[in-house]
């Protein structure tokens, strides 16, 4: 019995921590959704682009880890700048659907650019953190938990605290929240939309880089990272498209539920239900709580 409970705990904790990896990807979506009410289809491509650039800097030019990270983050700010200038500003007065279509196009451009610049082969990314159980925890708590998962959890926690402080206590954060509520009213009092867009796309780019590094270390830096966007979708539906805590909690829920279902219910379906169980959960949310757990409710005065 004690062993069963221990096993369940291991599945649960492992799932939760793996879930933070989804949270990291979902965070980037939330940032952009808040400012422009658009689902950014190019977020997956941004993950791929940024981490491939990071690997390229490190492996092709032998740039040290920290410097390569700074360079890649800077590159993502440049990508944000170009996106604002070349894509968003000309579409300033276009409908949200038009912007949505533009993000799909932007995704293809980024994928193409990344592969043209750094090649198409799968790269190994070694962060110096192994994807195997931490011996200390295995010995003392009898839980087998991957060091990479723990790192991802810590990184996600730091990022959410940082973003929370940025939004709550800085001037540009206030501007962002104002734009998220009513872009027209924000521009009527002189909040420059282009600065806000630039901030949001740059922040989403850096978040994409961090998410990409975590996933790259686990699964290799490869084109399949683009499809991470699809994994983030149920996370967003459950957490709410406009909520940063929602992205984190949504990721945790997806991570835990998919692991538990896989282990306990999977055998009845012949296994591998991990791949589709999150979407089933998402459908239930769409039916009964479409704004997600933490999504901003549409406040209506009566």
């Amino acid at each position: 019995m004690a062993n069963e409970l221990l096993f369940f705990m291991e599945v649960l904790v492992g799932g939760l921590l793996a879930g933070t990896m989804y949270s990291l990807v979902a965070l980037g979506f939330v940032l952009i959704f808040k400012a422009s009410a658009t689902f950014n289809f190019s977020q997956g491509a941004m993950v791929f682009f940024s981490v491939l650039a990071f690997c390229g800097f490190m492996q092709d030019f032998n740039i040290p880890f920290v410097l390569a990270f700074i360079l890649a983050a800077f590159l993502m700010v440049v990508v944000g700048l170009c996106t604002e200038r070349l894509v968003l500003r000309p579409l300033m007065n276009a409908s949200e659907d038009t912007v949505l279509m533009a993000t799909i196009g932007l995704g293809y451009v980024l994928e193409g650019l990344a592969q043209a610049a750094w090649g198409v082969e799968v790269r190994r990314l070694d962060l110096g953190i192994g994807d195997f159980p931490v011996p200390w925890i295995a010995d003392n708590l009898k839980l087998f938990i991957s060091a990479l998962d723990i790192t991802a959890g810590l990184v996600a926690a730091i990022m959410i605290i940082g973003l929370f402080l940025l939004f709550k206590y800085t001037k540009i954060g206030l501007g962002l929240r104002a734009v998220a509520d009513d872009a027209g009213a924000a521009s009527s009092i002189g909040i420059p939309l282009k600065h806000i867009m630039l901030l949001v796309w740059s922040a989403a780019g850096v978040v994409a880089l961090v998410a990409g590094m975590m996933w790259g270390a686990r699964a290799g830096v490869q084109f399949a990272l683009v499809d991470l966007a699809l994994k983030a979708l149920p996370v967003l539906i459950i957490g709410g498209f406009s909520s940063i805590p929602g992205a984190i909690i949504g990721g945790l829920i997806i991570g835990a539920v998919e692991k538990i279902l896989e282990v306990y219910i999977g055998p009845f379906f012949g296994g591998a239900i991990e791949g589709w169980a999150p979407y089933v959960l998402a459908i239930f949310f769409l039916l009964y709580r479409p704004e997600g757990l933490f999504g901003e409710k549409i406040i209506r005065r009566v």
């Binding site: 206030l174 998220a180 509520d181 027209g184 009213a185 924000a186 009092i189 002189g190 909040i191 005065r301």
Partner: protein, 271 residues
């Protein structure tokens, strides 16, 4: 009222089109003297909001364009400006329907108005205190989420937010829409006070002709995108046609100025 230095706003014969096809304003000319309150009156769809948006340059975001005429603010043409530049020049529009940031607190809403100014935390607090002296009611509710305040409070938030930008000129678009008579009076008292104590010039679009004229220096009446009548607020209040068409003291079945003009030209022909 012809000297530019006397008029903070000078609109000359503008025509406005939406989407290159819909003609919203035919011919609107209008002046706002420095430090005065000017009312722009007319029914729904007459072109009041369009006129204000032409001035604040917010037309572009609705695919509208000034196709003829000129608009001078503080002696300079506004043709090449965008909304945030206009705010920098001291012209702020309070949009129709209040448009508060619902998820922000009352105080955050007001502070967001100072976004375009480079103020320290201390300066902002000082400005806030000054603003609260005009909007006592908002001070009590400073920590509430704006979406949960009443319609009158939201209107006050919108005006207070605009005042944080330290405007020389305010454009108010139907500030009393949907408010109870008592609140309408309260809002107008605040507007009047801001005008007198802060020296803000005001261009006010209203459907509520009576109270708007009572609180203004000068008035313009527009119909279907054209100025039909203008004059001092007093003269408009005593004008028989205004009384009949806008103040509800009706004699015949005439509905607007076009009917009046038609009748007059008919009478001329008969005579």
């Amino acid at each position: 009222m012809s000297d530019n230095s006397v008029n903070i706003l000078d609109i000359k014969n503008i025509e406005v089109m939406y989407d290159n096809v819909i003609l919203a304003l035919h011919d609107v000319s209008l002046k706002v003297p420095k430090g005065k309150v000017v009312a722009l009156l007319g029914a729904n769809g007459a072109g009041k909001s369009t006129t204000l948006k032409a001035v604040s340059t917010m037309l572009a975001s609705e695919r509208g364009k000034v196709t003829k005429g000129s608009i001078d603010y503080d002696g300079n043409s506004i043709e090449k400006q965008n909304p945030s530049q206009m705010v920098g020049l001291g012209m702020v529009q309070v949009l129709e329907g209040r448009r508060c940031f619902g998820h922000l607190t009352v105080e955050e809403n007001i502070i967001s108005g100072a976004y375009s100014r480079k103020l320290s935390k201390g300066d902002i607090d000082q400005e806030l205190e000054k603003i609260y002296t005009y909007f006592l009611r908002l001070k009590e509710r400073r920590k509430s989420q704006a979406a949960f305040t009443s319609g009158g409070e939201q209107q006050m938030i919108a005006v207070a937010r605009a005042m944080m930008a330290k405007p020389k000129m305010l454009l108010l678009d139907e500030p009393t829409m949907g408010l109870a008579p008592q609140l309408v009076a309260e809002i107008f008292n605040i507007v009047k006070e801001l005008n007198q104590k802060e020296g803000v010039s005001i261009l006010l679009a209203e459907q509520n002709t009576n109270i708007a004229l009572k609180n203004s220096d000068y008035g313009y009446i527009i119909e279907t995108g054209k100025v039909m009548l203008e004059g001092t607020a007093e003269s408009l209040l005593n004008n028989d046609k205004v009384k009949e068409l806008y103040l509800g003291i009706s004699k015949k079945g005439r509905k607007n100025f076009r009917d009046v003009l038609k009748e007059e030209s008919l009478n001329k022909k008969i005579n």
